[in-house]
Amino acid sequence: MWHLITAPILLPMLTALLIMLPPIHYSPVRRRWLSIISSAIQLVLVATLLLKVQQDGAVHYAVGNWQAPFGIILVADTLSMVMVCLTSFLAFGAICYGSAGDDEKGSFFHPLFQFQVMGINGAFLTGDLFNMFVFFEVLLIASYALLIHAGGKNKTKAALHYVILNLTGSAIFLFALAVLYGTLGTLNIVDMAAKVALLPAADVMLVKSGGLMLIIVFALKAAVLPLQFWLPATYSSASAPVAALFAVMTKIGVYALLRVYTTIFGAEAGALSGMAGSWLLPVGLATIVLGSIGVIASNDFRKLVANLVLVSVGTLVSLVALQTELTAAAAIYYTVHSTLVAAALFLIADLIANQRGKAGDRLVSGRRVSQPVLLGIMFMVGAMTVAGLPPFSGFIGKLMLLQAVAEPSSKLLLWSIVLVCSLLVIVGLSRAGSTLFWRVSGSDAGEGKAAPLQVFAVCWLLIASPLLVIFAGPFTELSQHAAAQLYPSGANAVSRHALAPELEVVP
């Protein structure tokens, strides 16, 4: 049964390989359906796993039957399973959207997509820091390739920046890993935590240096100021299904921050405990502000959505920086919500752009969209969700994060920034919406209708928003459960930690 933990990694890989080989390879239809069906199966599997993990507690899977810390272990605790579920849910929607025709605009769309899912899931599941690096690279290289899908100058240009920056990031990741290995002598995250607790004084500053280096790596992935510059161009130039999938990529950085800085540099880390917070809080908040300014400043809708991603990243990083169980819980809920809505908005932006003639998604007057009601409703739901307006999931997220901040000075900062910036977001979105839908030039509507599969995909992602509200009770509890595993209380917490190898469940 527990072999299933590998499914989120191996199933996409297998799918990708099958798609690359005959007899699937030759037929676009077969490629599509294999990809879609595999994603659906994956979703079912991970949902089952999540429930099981919820019931039975965290599970550890020793790849190659080598126990931690010597081998690589996969960890399925609530947090990682939530992230994997989120990815699978998102991927299914994005695949469906892509299968409506975008996949044929370049080669290897489906294999690359599946590889990227593989990388993302791997990054979430692994309990080994170097293995995390490897999966980061898997997802990155797949993202590079997907970014240039369908071609075009903008994509090439964005890709160049994106690739070079991330290569630098990877180099820093390796420096950090080497420093941590060279001082702690291990690569397993929990084992690192155990070693940090017993660190000789002479090595403390070295470990700190390595730990802080990781901040750069993860902050670059998460797109936190001043390392966020790659994001707007990248996300806004990627083709729609790709951009939708990319919505989860920044969250990997956030996830890694959460994971590493609660486990390795958690409460037991002595002098190094909580060292990330003071660095992350100001940049997180600044990112929110910058993202909101970007929302106002954007000239096209995709850029606007990309800046919305920045806002959510800033919010998440600020929450992570506060390093309490409550903020972590809020961050987890907010991650799920913001990822899905950002993805949906990227797809909606594409639909709008397709229907507005030459104007595309630029915020200027253009032809009327040919499906105003459908797109209008989609836009409204998406915009309200992302702006944190009730009754959609954004407001639960907002309530949760505002409530989670306990310490007065950070409360003042975070509240005022979050609230003022949500106003900016509302202003920006209402401006964008009224321009896109209402500032019509010419009498006839644009051509092109959304394909049924595209509509389905957008609805699939959007439906999450009301569901996250209706079942907000269970969902918030799930988030809290996941957060509680990150902040185990009591003595000897490291060993009782969710990632602890002692809890090994291996067949």
Partner: protein
């Protein structure tokens, strides 16, 4: 549960218009009306306990973690408001049926309206602060939709956005206030909050909380200085104005003042903020109303003024004032709704709302005119109408307050002044529209509206009169119940009688009537004076402001994010220097106490060569091919360093990767300029040099600090278990294919993906094909060399044999699938170099991406094979067999895994290089001459 249905019915009702969209208009309207009608009945059925002072509640735990529950809290205040919302809502539905033209989408309108009704009901019925906020924001959204109903008009879009911006801002402030309250009280339950008066008022957060709360109320209720959005919301269809901007939405802020009156009022701050705001709003609204030529504009400002009046009442802090406030809410709703509807009828039937065009309508629509006049009289506070009663109470209360200390007399004076203007604009409404000569330039001849369009007006006007005459019988209980809720039990004695004898308030009323008439008569002078003042168009200024702000944001964003990778890189690197470097400053000494190895001459030479070559690369980076040669030396030296320091596997890998990389860079160089123009300014070079040296110093120091520290790691386990557990003596290789085989699987996946990505990049690439090299020398015409071709052919089997050798020994000796794969790939690339793409393709027509897939598949399936034995993924297996003659043969799953690696590497490398090579094969200048 009935309580929940009051809320749920309109909610579900918002779907009905969409379902019945295809039906006739009347059917659609009727169907839409069903849900609120039933809800109204349900509400009224609960009247008895409410009038008895009870509070009905419904509770459902929704999000316990957040304190967000579904709680319906029906008390007198909620009852009163629900009654207004549902009652007037029903009238609006009827009215809108006739108001909307054929071109307007009625289902959309009704859907929005019902949505709005739900939101409003949600606010007034909420028993949970967060739930209340939810509905509060919903009103902003639905009003946005309603105001922008005619979205093709620019001013409708802008007005809607402005309204949304202002109310949303208030909403966010309100949220903050509620969250603070929730944290103070420890619960978001309304009842709980209402019981925690002292807790809240004595808390240090109270002032900020109150300000935030009032921001929410004032923005929604269009209080000065947030009043400007309301007149611009008049671009909405008139039923919307009648409903939202007179009876309901703008009252939400007032409702909130009333709702939280028991807990938040009674402080100095409350009095000052609320009453002063109310007073200014009252005056400003009344004054400005007079000058509006647009009928709806006049009504909008009058609404602002009346809302100010109510706010002032709640600000005064006396119980009686609060009662008067509640009373005026009811009265204002009735007369203002009917006035808006009348204005709508006039607009609808005459085609204009401009009072300069509208004149003498009395003769065309006498019934409507009468209704409008009665309602306007009520607004002016003419006796025997409901407006008079509450205004009288208001005047009375202004006399009873001591808000401003010795200056308190200012308030009644200003109140009277406001009354004066109120009378004046009411008069204008009556006189300027229905009398005052003949209509000018109307597009159509005015006439009475359809019968049923007038019914709502008639009903409301009747109420104005009836309440004006029989206040106690009609609304006594209602007002009592509401006051009970607002005042939390201590309802003062008050009298709703028409006649209280000659007293000061009566005098003020009389003064107002008289003064108003005078002002109206001499309005010309006032108009002239007003015309000399600069015309402030809120909509345009708002729009301009937003645009300017957006432009400024845009400029800032562009300034920050100028699209320069160098800037981004600089920031990344500086972050690195700061974050990685700062801890090192705290290090007493870099040296960690471990004895250094001695330096010998050879190593020093190697290091010198490395440094020289690296430096030369930098120095000559603009002469690209030379730089390439230099970096080859660096690579070679790194490989030799690996050899020297006991890492033969690394040396082998580095060497083979090195060559492929150089070939790749050379391929790239063909398509790129061969020289870099000098571009960097010297200041920039200095800057980059300093950044680079900082990074270099940090990295170098770190590595020195690491190397000189004593060290224990998990590696002893690998050395101890490589042979017994992994079946190989080359520990590095066993780590790669066994202990950490999962990394390797990921790593070859990266390689495979990279090759796919490169294939994508090369598809339909519009290449530059330079016809000469960097110095302008044309390329040699001879494609291949005889000697090279001949030797390359002979080397291929040899190289493949070497790679097989390297492959098989990998598990026990330096080598392995990756290196073997690269050797094979390089051997095949040599064929490409020596013979050309076509030649190779003739002999080996393989789709390399398939090779990649097969390789990865082998690795994957090898890993999955362990499931058959119920072992975790990638669990290795090996066994020794003693075969006669051949001796001891080892079979290991690791070999199958390594085979996957090998095939993937061969496939990827060739996919990358051969595809790139293919790009140029055609259209190259080749010597065509025979032989």
């Amino acid at each position: 549960m009935t309580l929940l249905w009051i809320l749920l019915l309109p909610m579900l009702g918002s779907l009905i218009p969409i379902i019945t969209a295809k039906r006739q208009r009347s059917a659609c309207a009727l169907a839409t009306a069903v849900a609120p009608a039933v809800a109204l009945v349900l509400l009224v059925l609960n009247a008895k306990p409410i009038f008895a002072g009870e509070t009905l509640r419904f509770f459902y735990a929704w999000v316990p973690l957040l304190g967000l529950d579904i709680t319906i809290h029906l008390d007198g205040l909620a009852f009163l408001f629900s009654l207004l919302i549902l009652g007037i809502g029903l009238l609006i539905i009827l009215y809108a049926r006739y108001y909307l033209s054929e071109r307007d989408s009625m289902p959309r309108f009704y859907a929005y309206l019902m949505l709005f009704m739900t939101a409003m009901l949600g606010i007034v019925l909420s028993g949970n602060l967060l739930q209340l906020w939810l509905f509060w924001e919903l009103t902003s959204i639905s009003s946005f939709l309603l105001i922008s109903f005619w979205w093709h008009k620019p001013e409708a879009r802008r007005g809607a956005r402005m309204a949304l911006t202002v109310t949303a801002a208030g909403g966010l402030a309100l949220l903050a206030a509620f969250l603070l309250i929730g944290e103070i009280v420890g619960s978001y339950d309304l009842q709980q909050v209402l019981l925690s008066v002292d807790l809240i008022k004595q808390h240090s957060w109270y002032p900020i909380l109150l300000v935030l709360f009032l921001l929410g109320c004032f923005t929604k209720s269009a209080q000065f200085p947030f009043h400007f959005w309301l007149p611009n919301a008049m671009t909405a269809p008139t039923p919307v104005s009648a409903y939202l901007h007179s009876a309901t939405m703008v009252k939400a802020g007032i409702f909130l003042l009333a709702r939280f009156y028991p807990v938040l009022s009674g402080s100095e701050l409350w009095f000052v903020l609320v009453s002063v705001t109310g007073l200014i709003t009252l005056l400003v609204g009344a004054y400005l109303a007079l000058f509006k030529h647009d009928l709806k504009g006049l009504l909008a400002y009058s609404t602002i003024s009346h809302l100010g009046l109510i706010t002032l009442l709640f600000g005064m802090g006396t119980d009686l004032a609060a009662v008067a406030g509640i009373f005026h809410i009811i009265n204002h709703a009735t007369f203002k709704a009917s006035l808006f509807m009348a204005a709508g009828i006039i607009d609808h039937e005459s085609g204009s709302r401009d009072m300069r065009k509208l004149n003498g309508l009395w003769q065309f629509m006498p019934i409507t005119a009468t209704l409008a006049m009665v309602a306007a009289a009520a607004m002016a506070g003419v006796p025997l109408l409901n407006g008079f009663l509450s205004k009288e109470m208001f005047f009375g209360e202004t006399l009873n307050q001591q808000l401003l200390g010795s200056l308190s007399w200012v308030i009644p004076v200003l109140a009277t002044l406001a009354g004066v203007f109120s009378v004046a604009y009411s008069l204008r409404f009556i006189h300027d529209v229905f009398f005052n000569g003949q209509p000018k330039g109307l597009s159509k001849t005015p006439k009475e509206p359809p019968r049923y369009m007038r019914v709502p007006v008639e009903f409301l006007v009747a109420l104005c009169i009836l309440v004006g005459i029989f206040p106690v019988y009609l609304i006594g209980d209602l007002l009592d119940a509401a006051a009970l809720a607002v005042l939390a039990g201590d309802v003062p004695e008050y009298s709703l009688a028409i006649w209280h004898g000659f007293n000061l308030p009566l005098l003020m009323s009389a003064l107002a009537l008289l003064g108003g008439t005078l002002i109206y008569v001499y309005r010309k002078h006032l108009f002239e004076f007003q015309n000399t003042l600069p015309d402030v168009d809120a909509l345009n200024s708002f729009e301009r402001g937003v645009k300017q702000f957006a432009a400024r944001c845009h400029r800032f964003y562009q300034w920050l994010d100028n699209g320069s990778l160098q800037r981004y890189m600089t920031l990344v690197l500086l972050s690195f220097v700061v974050l990685a470097g700062l801890p090192l400053l705290d290090l007493a000494t870099l040296w960690g106490g471990r004895q250094e190895l001695p330096i010998d001459a050879v190593n020093a030479t190697g290091a010198a060569m490395l440094l020289i070559a690296a430096f030369a690369t930098v120095l000559w980076h603009r002469k690209r091919l030379i730089a390439l040669l230099m970096i080859s030396v660096v690579g070679l030296m790194v490989s030799i360093a690996f050899t020297r320091f006991s890492a033969p596997d690394l040396a082998l890998t580095q060497l083979s990767v090195e060559v492929v990389t150089i070939i790749l860079l050379m391929l790239a160089l063909f398509f790129l300029p061969h020289k870099t123009p000098k571009q960097s300014e010297s200041s920039r070079v200095v800057r980059d040099l300093s950044i680079a040296s900082m990074v270099g110093v940090v990295v170098g120091s770190l590595s020195y600090a690491l190397m000189t520290r004593p060290f224990t790691s998990i590696s002893d386990f690998f050395i101890a278990n490589a042979k017994t557990g992994g079946g190989g003596t080359n520990v590095v290789n066993v780590i790669l294919v066994d202990f950490r085989g999962f990394d390797t699987l990921g790593e070859i996946t990266v390689l495979g993906i990279a090759s796919l990505g490169i294939f994508k990049l090369l598809t339909r690439i519009p290449l530059f094909k330079p016809s000469s090299d960097g110095e302008g020398r044309p390329w040699a015409l001879q494609r291949n060399s005889l000697l090279l071709s001949t030797v390359a052919q002979s080397l291929l089997p040899l190289a493949i044999m070497v790679s097989i050798y390297i492959f098989f020994r990998g598990h026990n000796m330096p080598g392995g699938g990756f290196i073997a794969g690269l050797i094979t790939a390089v051997a095949i690339i040599l064929q490409y170099i020596a013979q050309g793409v076509d030649w190779v393709k003739e002999r080996m027509n393989v789709e390399y991406q398939r090779v990649v897939a097969i390789g990865l598949m082998i690795a994957l399936l090898t890993g999955a094979g362990s499931w058959l034995f119920n072992r975790p993924f990638l669990t290795s297996w090996f066994a020794h067999f003693n075969v006669p003659l051949l001796g001891d043969i080892e079979l290991a799953s690791a070999i199958a895994f390594d085979l996957g690696v090998y095939i993937t590497v061969v496939g990827s490398t060739l996919l990358i290089l051969a595809n790139l090579g293919k790009m140029t094969t055609s259209h190259r200048p080749v010597h065509k001459e025979a032989i």
